[in-house]
Each structure stands twice: as C-alpha cells, then as structure tokens.
C-alpha cells in the first residue's frame, strides 16, 4: 500500500533561515534600516544625558565632554551617525510611498514629495550650526 494514501498530503514545509536578511542586498538594506532605529534612540538618550549634565553644574558637563572626547566614544558616535543618516534618508525616501502619493491631487515624481523633508532637515541643521557657532 503506497504511503501517501495514509498521510496525504505529505508536503515539504521549508523553514526560513534565521539569516534570511543576508540572502539578498535588498533584505540586508531593509534590516539595516530597521536596526538604525536603535541608533536614533541612542542619540535621543545621549541628548537627554547631555542636557542633564548641562543642567547640573559646569564640572559635570566638563566630565561629560571629556567622556565624549574619548576615542571609543568618537568611534561609537561615527557609527551611530552613519546609521542615523541611513535612517533619515531611507525613511524620507519612503514618504512618497507611505503618505504623499495619495495626498497629492495627481501623480507626481517621488522626489517632489520627499524633497521638502530634505529642505527642512538641511535648513534646521544650518540654523542649529549657526546658533552653536554664535552667529545667531
């Protein structure tokens, strides 16, 4: 008696690899985009710690600055900045897909709906830089 009549259907159910995101560059890019959220959270916490040090006293803030000037923290922050930029750029580029294309009256190129994000981003960066340098 053939086995398949007893246990029909006898299908093969493939299991997804734990390293599926290494299968293709598109998946790796997606995984990096998702992982970049961690570094955004890191910068938020770092800013809060900086503000707390600033609000305590000058000695505490000097300690914070010395800690941030250590080679290890500089390397960590360069890596974090790279992921932060990846996060911002990939999500800005997704804006047309997620929201804008359906809010605009007629079909427009993606750049039209993602460009305002970049303008606001660069504008805010320049204003902050001028403020920190004491120009404003």
């Amino acid at each position: 008696m053939p086995q398949y009549t007893q246990f029909q259907p006898k299908e093969y159910r493939p299991k997804m690899s734990a390293y599926w995101y290494l299968d293709h560059w598109h998946y790796l890019r997606y995984a990096l985009r998702e992982a970049s959220s961690f570094f955004v959270a890191y910068f938020c916490v770092l800013t809060l710690v900086q503000l707390a040090a600033l609000g305590t006293n000058a000695t505490r803030y000097a300690h914070f600055q010395a800690f941030m000037a250590s080679p290890v923290m500089i390397i960590v922050n360069v890596i974090a900045l790279a992921f932060f930029l990846l996060h911002a750029i990939t999500w800005f580029n997704l804006v047309p897909r997620v929201v804008m294309r359906q809010m605009l009256a007629r079909p427009t190129p993606d750049i039209v709906s993602s460009a305002p994000n970049y303008f606001v981003w660069f504008g805010a960066t320049i204003i902050l830089a001028l403020f920190i340098m004491g120009v404003l």
């Binding site: 259907p9 006898k10 359906q102």
Partner: protein
C-alpha cells in the same frame, strides 16, 4: 559561448519523505528560449518525472512562478540567456509548502484571497437600468491594482509572509484595495475588519520587495500603505464619534 546551459532543478518526491535536493540537467541555450522552455525540454526529452506548473506561456496566467537563482520570477518571460553561462538554479517559490518538485500548495493563499472579498460588494439592491458610469479618474484610482495575476511572486519575495504564516499578504491586500477604490463597491467596511487586524496591513513593515518582483508592475506595497492611512482615519473617526455612522 556554449550552446548548452546547466539547469539545477529542485526535486522533492513526497513519497520518499526526504528533503528536497537539486538535480542538474544540460539543456540547449537558445536566444529565444525562456527558463520555462528549458524546463519543458527536461520534461519532454530528459526526465518526464519532473513536476511544475505552467499554462499560457505569455505572462498572463501566473502559473509558472518559481525561484530562479534565488529571485521570484515568472519563468515564461525570463530568458535563459540572461543567466549564461550558468548554471541556473530553479526552485519552488519560497514561503509555500512544496507538493512536488517545483509545485507549491496555494490553498492557504486562495483562502486568504477569498477572506478579503475581492469582488464588487453592494449593500443595496443594485439593479442599474444602464451601465455604471466611471470617470477616467475613478478608473485610474484602482486600475493598476486590477492587473494582479495571482502569481504569488510577491509572497515569495516578502519576508513577513515567511516569518508570519497568518499574514494576509501583498496580493490579497492589493486586490482587496482594488475593490475598496472602485466607485461601484460598498464593501470597504467588511474588508476593513479583516485588513486592519494585525495579520493584515499592520504586519507589513515596508520591505517593498513585493512591488519590485511583480511582473505586472502592480505596487502591492503602495496599496498596503494607502490602506494603513484609510484604516487610521477610520479608527480616529470611530474614536472621536463612537456612535456616528462612518
């Protein structure tokens, strides 16, 4: 260039109870041959036991979707020449149970498709005296989503479909959205209950590969993101006006 190419084809025999393995076949490399032609050559000339689906050979029926060198592909519209000098690895679509060789079980997909009611739903006794008039803009709103041929390449490309078998998936949501956008349809509330569950639109994390691999240039990812906005608006309406008619 060689006039032959090696096809490494996934083989699985349910009666053996073993794991799938790859078997190599040497097929002619002709400029006008698609991957499907290579498979048909194997079936006709080399090994009649090979099982795979195909029908129209012109990218209409959506039957011949397979993983070709790891990418979801319609084998009837992909030239063998693109993979020269080879070898070319052909496997069943990812994230589906395999019935035999390159044939996958689509029952789960078809059940999900039926669940989202992909047809015109009317709540009234609709008996028009003449044809239903739609403007070009109304047609444009849903037209691209109506081009889906249910080839399920988008499911094979979507890692969420592989990680969460309950995810309704790109094609089913795109087709549901096609009817939500149709001016003749009144079934959006019924579909909202199904699509706004976690296994519906909210399971999608915008990987975007579903739209990249679609052979008909449908954009299921866009459909999902559009419906997320609709579902959010409906949720706010029901939150602010719990007894109102939405």
């Amino acid at each position: 260039m060689s006039d032959t190419i090696i096809l490494e084809v996934a083989r699985f025999n349910p009666e053996d109870g073993g794991e799938p393995s790859y078997q190599s076949y040497e097929v002619p490399l002709r400029p006008d041959w698609m991957v499907l032609d290579g498979l048909n050559h194997i079936k006709d000339q080399l090994d009649g036991s090979l099982a795979f689906r195909w029908s129209c050979r012109m990218g209409i029926c959506g039957s011949c979707g397979m993983m070709v060198n790891g990418r979801p592909t319609l084998t009837c519209e992909t030239l063998l020449m693109n993979y020269a000098p080879g070898p070319v690895r052909v496997a069943p679509l990812d994230h589906f149970p395999v019935v035999k060789d390159l044939v996958v079980d689509l029952d789960d997909f078809l059940a999900k498709l039926q669940k989202v009611r992909p047809w015109v739903v009317r709540k009234d006794d609709f008996k028009p005296a003449r044809e239903f008039i739609q403007s070009p803009a109304q047609l444009e709103a849903f037209h691209q989503f109506s081009l889906c041929i249910n080839c399920t390449l988008c499911y094979a490309a979507c890692p969420v479909s592989g990680l969460d078998p309950n995810f309704i998936g790109p094609a089913a949501i795109a087709l549901a959205h096609r009817y939500n956008l149709d001016s003749r349809d009144q079934g959006i509330e019924d579909r909202l209950d199904i699509l706004s569950q976690h296994e519906g639109i909210w399971d999608c994390t915008v990987v975007g590969e579903c739209s990249v691999v679609c052979p008909k240039h449908v954009d299921p990812s866009l459909a999902i993101q559009q419906f997320k906005l609709t579902a959010t608006k409906e949720w706010f309406k029901s939150f602010l006006l719990p007894r109102g008619k939405h």
